[in-house]
């Protein structure tokens, strides 16, 4: 398959990249790993007039942990493989599992965290964990930078809050509160090169060791046009002591929060059933992660 012709730009600074994106706006496609864009160009799904490679911009690949507040900043062009090796991400269990589930080891060597967010596929692996952690995104344009919550980032399949002159540059994760744990489960027919049938991430925080649940965020993917919070399930958990029965109840409640459709991967009915099962399981995982 041939890739349609395009004008190619490879800026070496973020400033240059923003100027180019500001100039060409919707006519320019930003390129990082290319594991989604290149296949789409080959299939004729996209045919941009120009392509702006972000791969020459060092600051987009660098990560840091704030000394004062312990908040983690991840460069949008950090590859999935490189993030899996980052020790400071180990506490973010759900994110680590999401990263490890993405694509295949070959895809992970090229794909980027920013790319998984920018492509905005409902079954994306990184949205549920990042939203569960209340993650934020930094967007940059010639007008400056702005911060948005990832809760508001994904607008619809293939659509994000990014304006046509903006570049996603950084993802920020706050330090995890004490007595917190997280988990992510991806359901598919096979362990690799799989697009989720249903996926669920959960972060739970206890008020004290062996205490009651003080905070819960459950995010489901592939069961709606955007990643969905299981808010009914979350409310049910607050103030309660964790137990298998409680998690089973939460699973049932999460079913009502999901909006799956029938597609070639599975029926809406089956997906709802799986939301129930996976939510209970991922809560158990998150609880185990606290210990």
């Amino acid at each position: 398959m041939l890739i349609p012709r395009f004008n190619y730009h490879k800026p070496s600074t973020l400033k240059e990249a923003c100027e180019l994106k500001g100039k060409f706006k919707g006519k320019a496609q930003l390129l990082a790993g290319g594991t989604d864009i290149i296949p789409n160009m080959k299939k004729g799904v996209m045919s941009p007039e120009c392509v702006i490679s972000l791969n020459g911009i060092g600051e987009l690949k660098s990560n840091s942990v704030g000394e004062k507040n312990g908040c983690t900043r991840i460069g949008a062009c950090a590859t999935i493989s490189s993030l899996i090796k980052e020790k400071f991400l180990l506490p973010y269990n759900a994110l680590m599992t999401g990263l490890e589930s993405l694509g295949s080891p070959l895809i992970r060597n090229m794909a980027t965290i920013g790319g998984n967010l920018a492509t905005a596929r409902p079954a994306a692996d990184l949205y549920p964990p990042l939203i569960a952690y209340k993650g934020k995104a930094i967007l940059c344009s010639v007008a400056g930078k702005r911060e948005v919550s990832l809760d508001d980032f994904f607008l619809g399949p293939g659509k994000t809050i990014l304006k046509d002159d903006e570049i996603l540059v950084e993802i920020i994760l706050d330090a995890l509160p004490a007595c917190s744990g997280s988990g992510y489960i991806k359901l598919g027919m096979r362990k690799t090169l799989e697009i989720s049938l249903v996926n669920v991430a959960a972060v739970i925080t206890l008020d004290k060791p062996d205490g009651v649940i003080a905070g819960a965020r459950i995010v489901m993917g592939a069961v709606g046009p955007i990643p969905l919070r299981a808010k009914t399930a979350e409310k049910l958990l607050l103030g309660e002591k964790p137990s298998k029965e409680l998690f089973a109840e939460a699973g049932k409640a999460a079913t009502g929060d999901s909006r799956p459709i029938d597609d070639f991967r599975g029926s809406a009915e089956y997906r709802r059933d799986m939301v129930k099962v996976l939510t209970a399981r991922v809560l158990q995982k998150a609880l185990h992660d606290i210990g």
Binding site: L2, K10, I38, M41, S104, P105, L106, K191, T192
Partner: protein
Amino acid sequence: MKTIQLKVNGELCALSVEPNETLLEALRDKLDLTGTKRGCDTGACGACTVIMNGEPILSCVTLAVRCHNKEITTIEGLASHGELHPLQQAAIEHNAVQCGFCTPGWLLSAKALLDKNAHPSQEEVRTAIAGNLCRCTGYKKIEEAILAINDHE
């Protein structure tokens, strides 16, 4: 057209490439290195695997222009001075090759693994080749061939 300079299997090359040209196309059509295969051509099967700066990647979804100043190893670079690489030898000994189409891909994924981890576990081998699909062998003999390298050391 852009000119890129890169090392392929230890040799310095200068290539004129179009921005919309993939590394796979450059390797097969410009350098006549047809050992790297075009399978799905969309990054899902691993037949196009090559090693770039130590990391196994999918050449069918990598733009050639991205490879400027990089070091690429293709399957042709595995054997040296006419002698098969131990991985290639193991593949033969363990009957890990049937039609052979996936073989260059997984051999390079395995080489990249062994270069970083000389004694991988069964789990680590399985993860390393997870991106290389094989329709013939059922993967068992491929796994055995790679694990057998431990014995050669």
